[in-house]
């Protein structure tokens, strides 16, 4: 039996997720918000891999899911940065408060 319990891994992932959530909600720079979202996705990956070792039916499926999450995260960050750059080209700002042209 492993000396590190499942709840320790889950708590680590929870702390990282909370830090990422705080960053995504409180920062005004769009790049920082994207970075915080990456941190949250990483915390979720820790959970998936931890359950692949300690879960109810522990097997390798959790690791496969973590791989899919990594692939989708890479696609997400590429599209996010592309949107950010074209927004910057049109509005000359990266402040998230000023990107409100879709309001009303």
């Amino acid at each position: 039996m492993s000396s590190v319990p499942l709840s320790a891994y889950l708590t680590l992932a929870l702390i990282l997720f909370c830090i990422g959530l705080y960053g995504a909600l409180s920062k005004r720079n769009t790049i920082i918000v994207l970075i915080s979202i990456e941190l949250m996705l990483n915390a979720v990956n820790i959970n998936l891999v931890a359950f692949s070792r300690f879960g109810v039916s522990a097997n390798i499926t959790g690791q496969i899911f973590a791989l899919f999450v990594v692939a989708i995260a890479a696609a997400e960050v590429a599209v996010g940065i592309a949107i950010l750059i074209s927004l910057y080209r049109n509005k000359r700002t990266v402040n998230i408060d000023e990107m409100d042209s879709m309001k009303h």
């Binding site: 319990p5 990956n45 940065i81 592309a82 910057y88 990266v94």
Partner: protein
């Protein structure tokens, strides 16, 4: 909980990951934040090794610490910041967000505090990559192929979105 090597390694890696994330939140310059984030990503790769997921650890280093960080740096360098991330949010809103996040974390912590299913997969580290490959190409072929389509769409979409529109540029000038 005895003080084995695995436990010590877990404590060190967890502290490194959390401190990297906290630095990421608190540093002033955007580039420094990205460097702190790389620190967190590498520590998380170490956590994956502890969880007997060597292939995921290698993917974590390659994709996150390599590719995603470089894309972030491109994004930072192609846009102009005053090099500092401005903090003009009102104090009250920061406090409300902080309280909300802490409440969320505490309520989830109550759920996972003593979670233990009492079983453990012991053979995950034997031929880890081979097992992932076999599983991926036998059970999860269709999601795998769909992922390749998603990556292609994201690639083309990113190019189309960030391509400079020559006609509009000429119109502006």
């Amino acid at each position: 909980m005895s003080l084995t090597g695995e436990f010590i390694a877990f404590i060190i890696l967890a502290l490194a990951a959390i401190s990297g994330a906290i630095f990421m939140i608190n540093l002033q310059k955007v580039v420094h934040m990205v460097v702190a984030l790389v620190f967190t990503f590498v520590s998380i790769a170490g956590i994956f090794v502890l969880l007997h997921a060597e292939f995921i650890a290698a993917v974590q280093i390659l994709i996150y610490s390599g590719a995603i960080t470089i894309i972030m740096l491109f994004g930072i360098m192609l846009t102009k910041h005053n090099d500092k991330s401005e903090q003009k949010m009102s104090m009250a809103r920061t406090i409300i967000v902080f309280i909300g996040v802490v409440a969320f974390g505490f309520s989830v912590y109550l759920g996972i505090n003593n979670l233990d299913f009492g079983q453990e997969a012991t053979a995950l580290h034997e031929n880890n990559t081979e097992k992932i490959g076999i599983e991926l190409y036998s059970k999860y072929v269709i999601p795998f192929e769909l992922t390749s389509v998603v990556l292609l769409v994201a690639l083309i979409g990113a190019i189309v979105l960030s391509k400079r529109d020559e006609k509009e540029e000429a119109k502006k000038e």
